[in-house]
């Protein structure tokens, strides 16, 4: 039979007498067999559809959020438009190492992108934006690294505490387990470099909020000692693709330098 796309063809074609459904009915050998087979068939198709959709969700979560996230985060860094010290055509200069009290940036608004993170251990091209707050929809899933509200700012006495995804959404903290003691964690604000050095890492439960305390390890309610150190904390999920625990990396400020002086030596060493 030669079909042509006519308006009549827009309406459902009745099941032909020799169609499979009818044959099943005969096969069943009793009245209603066709109905049962039809219901079972539709149920089976629904199950297959749900299975395919769940598979697609996994593809979206593990792969697509990452593709989109990495692209968006690169764009955010580009949009910040911060000048590199070498942008004026001068030679690459190495900053001196200031160990006095660093300038501390003012508190940013929630969701505001106020800093960038360089981690040489994660590659020469590793550069991610840091924004205020740890809300998933507005910061962690979109911008990348979030700064726990109420914890210290870069360079401040206390703890500059951050969180980021370890898998999916651009996965800023994907290689957190590769960090070793004395590895540099370089935070940059528009005008200042803050060079932190990794001191230790540990795996804790999600409720162990003392990891982001101004002095890591001091539980809420315990008296705080006088603040003398400038800490940084990275928190992310552990194990990968799970949220049962948290991977924590601590660091301490080694030195700071104005961006106008050049680039910290940690970012110039060949990896």
């Amino acid at each position: 039979m030669n079909r042509t796309p006519t308006s009549a063809a827009l309406f459902p074609t009745p099941v032909r007498p020799d169609g499979p459904r009818r044959r099943h009915a005969h096969h069943g050998g009793r009245r209603g067999g066709g109905l049962v087979a039809g219901v079972v068939g539709v149920f089976g198709e629904l199950l297959v559809t749900v299975g395919v959709l769940l598979g697609l969700f996994v593809v979206w979560q593990l792969w697509w959020t990452d593709v989109e996230g990495a692209r968006a985060q690169d764009q955010i860094v580009a949009d910040m438009g911060w000048e590199e010290p070498e942008d004026d055509g001068s030679e690459v200069a190495v900053t001196s190492e200031h160990r006095d009290a660093p300038p501390v940036p003012g508190a940013p608004a929630a969701g505001e992108t106020f800093a960038q993170l360089y981690v040489p251990r994660w590659g020469d091209d590793y550069l991610k934006p840091i924004a205020e707050g740890t809300d998933k929809a507005t910061v962690l899933d979109t911008i990348g690294i979030g700064h726990y509200e109420g914890t210290g700012m870069p360079g401040e006495l206390g703890n500059f505490a951050t969180a980021a995804h370890r898998t999916t959404y651009g996965k800023p903290y994907n290689k957190v387990h590769e960090l070793e003691e004395q590895d540099a964690l370089v935070v940059r604000t528009e005008d200042t470099w803050y060079v932190y050095k990794v001191t230790e890492s540990e795996i804790v439960l999600p409720e162990n909020i003392e990891v982001i305390s101004p002095v890591p390890g001091i539980k809420p309610g315990e008296p705080l000692p006088e603040l003398t150190e400038r800490y940084i904390t990275l928190t992310t999920c552990h194990p990968m693709f799970s949220a049962a625990e948290r991977y924590i990396v601590y660091g301490e400020l080694d030195y700071w330098a104005p961006v106008s002086e050049g680039t910290p030596k940690e970012l110039l060493e060949e990896g």
Binding site: P5, G41, L56, H165, I209, A243
Partner: protein, 52 residues
């Protein structure tokens, strides 16, 4: 279900197949843009923060 969809679609088999592919792409786009992001909020494996 899919047999009914196939019967509902107009045109020769190749046109129906093409329409099915098109519908599939639309479904995929809606899922990726709206359904999955909404669903992921309820998934337990995306938490990276301590506390809360």
């Amino acid at each position: 279900m899919y047999a009914a969809l196939w019967n509902f679609l107009p045109g020769p088999p190749w046109a129906r197949a093409l329409l099915c592919v098109g519908l599939g792409i639309i479904l995929l786009a809606v899922c990726f843009e709206y359904v999955f992001p909404w669903l992921s909020d309820y998934m337990p494996f995306n938490d990276t923060t301590v506390g809360q």
